[in-house]
């Protein structure tokens, strides 16, 4: 087998495998190194895809158990077969990762199985073989951030990986961290019957999300039975026969309290994954947070070595990594792609969903930007009423002078799908009025986006 490549990508997650395929499409000879038994990285194996499989299954269960009756569909004795649900999740994951294998074959991307070590400019070793690449791309992703005093065993105390594989519904699941991962997986187990408590160090949930949306989101989740303990610092966890005893104290200082849990999910964030890669020996610079330092063209300080995705600065999102992978491959082919980092959407796949793109109201206040706000609740949207999913609202932020769209924030049914038109509008430099003037089909949820855009000028029609 050849050991000479145009491009060697380290990591087959969404950033790495997409970069490899795109580079191959552009006629380059490409290898992709992956130590996991399957391709697809965290996202496909233990992240986005399995969690969405469980979110869908658990949502269906909730509907069947509690929602159908309102529609006149009377079911009796709805029961949960968790083993079957987990098997289905595994089937979904397997289909996806095999799909990547197929795409590698189709595009003649060589999969080098094993752990990579960068030896220096143009050289990477996998096990005992040295490979040469004109360009080397670090796409090793991220891992769960540990917390002092909490020893993860992936059984009682788990990261997202373990929380996808509980063999039984925990009686009491305590989630440390009210971020995207904690709330999605907390939702899964809450729907399946667990008592769920979320502990957060900050005094708000989902930092980075528009505060008004976050407040409404917390209210919705609380109604679903999730208990929040905000402004609390977890200081330790002790395994007991019954489960885990957590100790915590108010973040601002005060009396420590304890909390009994059957299982604990640690989800305080993710950090770049570079262990064993040999960055220091190769002289590749990292910043204080362990992220590989890159320039605007994803180049590290070592010639011919690049980095993309979670391992560099920016939001840790699969679609951000994918876009960077495509852009880098095209740059290596001499093209001049561009990524607009101001128009990267983010979605929380609870139900209702949360989706956002662009600036939050807090961003605009901090930046001293004069803005106008338009809001429209799903209670006034015909389709949402028909669906029986009327929680949440659309919030549009526009420049006070030019009406240019600055941000869009949605809490509501299928918010993740609805945000797409706002991303397009933002990218095209559209105004709020543009969104309002584009025809939206009736009756759809997207009419709520249009009405919020109308509301920017104070002329929403249906409220």
């Amino acid at each position: 087998m050849s050991t000479e490549f145009d491009v060697i990508v380290i990591g087959a997650g969404p950033g790495g495998y997409v970069c490899a395929i795109r580079a191959a499409q552009l006629g380059m000879k490409v290898a992709c190194i992956e130590k996991r038994e399957t391709l697809g990285g965290t996202c496909l194996n233990i992240g986005c895809i399995p969690s969405k499989a469980l979110l869908q299954s658990s949502e269906n269960f909730t509907e069947a158990a509690h929602g159908f009756a309102a529609h006149g569909i009377m079911l009796e004795g709805v029961t949960l077969d968790l083993a079957r649900m987990q098997t289905r999740k595994t089937e979904v994951v397997t289909a996806n990762v095999r799909g990547i294998e197929f795409l590698f074959k189709k595009n003649n991307v060589t999969w080098l199985k094993g752990a990579a070590k960068i030896l220096g400019e143009g050289q990477v070793s996998v096990d005992d073989t040295t490979y040469h690449g004109k360009s080397i791309v670090i796409a090793t992703g991220s891992e769960s951030t540990p917390l002092a005093g909490i020893q993860v065993d992936e059984d009682r105390i788990v990261t997202s990986t373990g929380a996808l594989d509980f063999p039984a519904v925990p009686g009491h699941l305590v989630v440390i961290g009210a971020g995207v991962i904690g709330l999605e997986l907390g939702s899964v187990w809450r729907r399946l019957g667990a008592r769920v408590t979320v502990i957060e160090y900050l005094d708000r949930i989902v930092p980075g999300i528009d505060a008004e949306i976050a407040t409404a989101f917390q209210r919705v989740l609380t109604k679903q039975g999730i208990v929040f303990k905000l402004g609390q610092k977890v200081t330790g966890a002790t395994l007991t026969d019954a489960g885990v005893t957590l100790t915590m104290e108010p973040a601002k200082g005060g009396t420590a309290t304890t909390l009994e849990a059957d299982r604990v999910l640690l989800a305080i964030g993710r950090r770049p994954h570079t262990e064993g890669l040999g960055l220091a020996a190769a002289g590749i610079a990292t910043d204080a947070r362990g992220r590989v330092v890159t320039d605007a063209h994803f180049a590290t300080n070592v010639p011919g070595i690049y980095a993309i995705g979670d391992v560099i600065a920016g939001p840790m999102l699969a679609h951000k990594a994918e876009d960077e992978g495509v852009a880098l491959a095209e740059m290596l082919a001499g093209q001049k792609p561009h990524i607009n980092y101001d128009a990267i959407p983010s979605v929380i796949y609870t139900w209702p969903e949360v989706a956002a793109v662009g600036a939050t109201e807090e961003d605009l206040k901090a930046g001293g930007v004069a803005y106008t706000v338009g809001k429209f609740p799903f209670t006034a949207n015909g389709r949402a009423r028909a669906m029986g999913s009327i929680e949440g609202f659309v919030k549009i932020l526009a420049d006070a002078q030019t009406d240019r769209l600055l941000g869009a924030h949605i809490l509501g049914p299928d918010a993740g799908g609805l945000i797409a038109e706002c991303v397009t509008a933002l990218e095209f430099g559209a105004s709020a009025e543009d969104i309002a003037r584009i025809c939206h089909a009736h009756p759809t949820l997207s009419e709520a986006v249009k009405e919020a855009a109308l509301a920017v000028e104070g002329r929403a029609l249906h409220i």
Partner: protein, 409 residues
């Protein structure tokens, strides 16, 4: 690799231009230095040439768009082929497995209209104000005109015509009556109008007069014009004498050659002599650089060349900027007397007029002499009356006795 075609430096005090017309269309193959696009500036029409051979890949600034110096007009792609070669087959992707992370299909060359449609709210505003979309450069994706662009354009248009003048776009123009014709001012005419008014609004403008006996110059010319033309290849006119006389007088009275810059006066140790000439589209003032270093023949040659270029409209921008003093000759049209308007930021302009035989008293006797009235308009803020009058007297003395030019007297 695509090369950006940018608006070149347009000379001092010129920061923007209007796209007059594209000489090449997107997709056309072009040779190096071949003209691509014509820009109309406040002063002249400038051609932008291809920096290298290739294909005009995109046209980003439509006709009529206002563009700043350095902004990108379009892009030039390598080679004679269409832009963006298709990278391998694009089909397939989604055929694999439902739900997998399918990469986006690689973009092939997409036919793109030269000027993308304005965004919906922008289109509405444009229609309401009867402004064409190509009147402005769009800031949206691929240069699309956004609502904000139109608002900014309308604001600017309103500010450009302050009260009491009606805002040209905010209010419909009055009806054209029978026997009238409405013609849009060219950019050059608008600039001339604005600059002349600026001069009147800014400078403390004053004109002093004198008259000059042209006998000596005419005798000299009659005597040497054939030999001069044979040797230098240019006709011996009077302009050379006046330029030389002004240069000498300016060196004696530097305030007339200076300009006001904020709180300071900037004196110049050189004379860039502007010569006003009637061009095809209006008055232009090409500049003879370092006139103090030029011979009479070189000055005459420059005057002749600029006169032709002005009529043809082929003056270059750098030939129209940087003047420190100007001469205007209304005499060619028969003017006997006039008060010229300054060419800001200059502080002096000499007006020449028609040579006319007039009776004058010479040493107590009445004689008929070829006489010309001279006018010097000056900025009284930095030029005192004594300096202005003395300047004009010096010019008169040297023209009446050209030997002084040789002797530096």
């Amino acid at each position: 690799m695509a090369t950006e075609i940018k608006v070149p430096s347009l000379g001092e005090s010129v920061s923007s231009a209007t796209i007059a017309r594209w000489l090449k269309q997107a997709g056309d193959a072009v040779a190096a230095d071949e003209p691509l696009v014509e820009l109309e500036t406040d002063k002249v029409t400038v051609e932008v040439n291809a920096p290298e051979a290739g294909t005009l890949a995109s046209v980003l600034a439509p006709v009529g768009a206002e563009v700043e110096v350095g902004s990108v007009l379009g892009t030039l792609a390598d080679g004679g082929a269409a832009p963006a070669p298709t990278p391998r087959s694009a089909q397939g992707g989604s055929a694999a497995t439902a739900g997998i992370h399918v990469p986006p299909a690689p973009p092939g060359p997409v036919a793109r209209p030269a000027a993308p449609a304005p965004l919906p709210a922008a289109a509405k505003l444009l229609a309401e104000h009867a402004v064409p979309a190509d009147a402005m450069a769009g800031t949206g994706k691929d240069g699309r005109v956004t609502k904000g662009d139109v608002i900014a354009f309308l604001d600017k248009a309103n500010k450009a015509a302050p009260a009491p003048a009606p805002a040209p776009l905010a209010r419909p123009a009055r009806e054209v009556a029978l026997g009238e014709e409405r013609v849009k001012m060219t950019r050059l005419r608008r600039t001339i109008a604005a600059r002349l008014k600026e001069a009147q609004n800014t400078a403390a403008m004053l004109t002093t007069f004198n008259e000059v006996d042209m006998s000596a110059c005419m005798d000299l010319r009659a005597q040497y014009k054939d030999g001069f033309e044979k040797k230098h290849g240019v006709r011996l006119g009077f302009m050379g004498f006046f330029v030389r006389a002004c240069v000498a007088a300016l060196q004696e009275f530097p305030a007339v050659n200076a300009e006001i810059d904020g709180e300071d006066i900037v004196y110049k140790h050189f004379v860039h002599m502007g010569i006003a000439v009637g061009g095809a589209g209006g008055l232009v003032v090409p500049v003879i650089r370092n006139a103090e270093a030029l011979s009479l023949a070189e000055i005459e040659a420059a005057v002749g060349r600029y006169g032709r270029a002005a009529r043809e409209g082929s003056l270059k921008l750098e030939e129209l900027t940087g003047g420190t003093f100007s001469i205007t000759n209304g005499g060619v049209y028969g003017s006997l007397m006039s008060t010229p308007i300054l060419n800001p930021p200059q502080s002096g302009i000499l007006g020449m007029h028609k040579i006319q035989d007039r009776p004058v008293a010479i040493a107590g006797k009445l004689e008929i002499r070829p006489m010309m009235y001279l006018a010097l308009s000056y900025d009284h803020r930095i030029v005192d009356g004594r300096e202005a009058v003395s300047f004009l007297v010096r010019v008169k003395e040297m023209i009446e006795d050209p030997r002084r030019l040789v002797l530096g007297l």
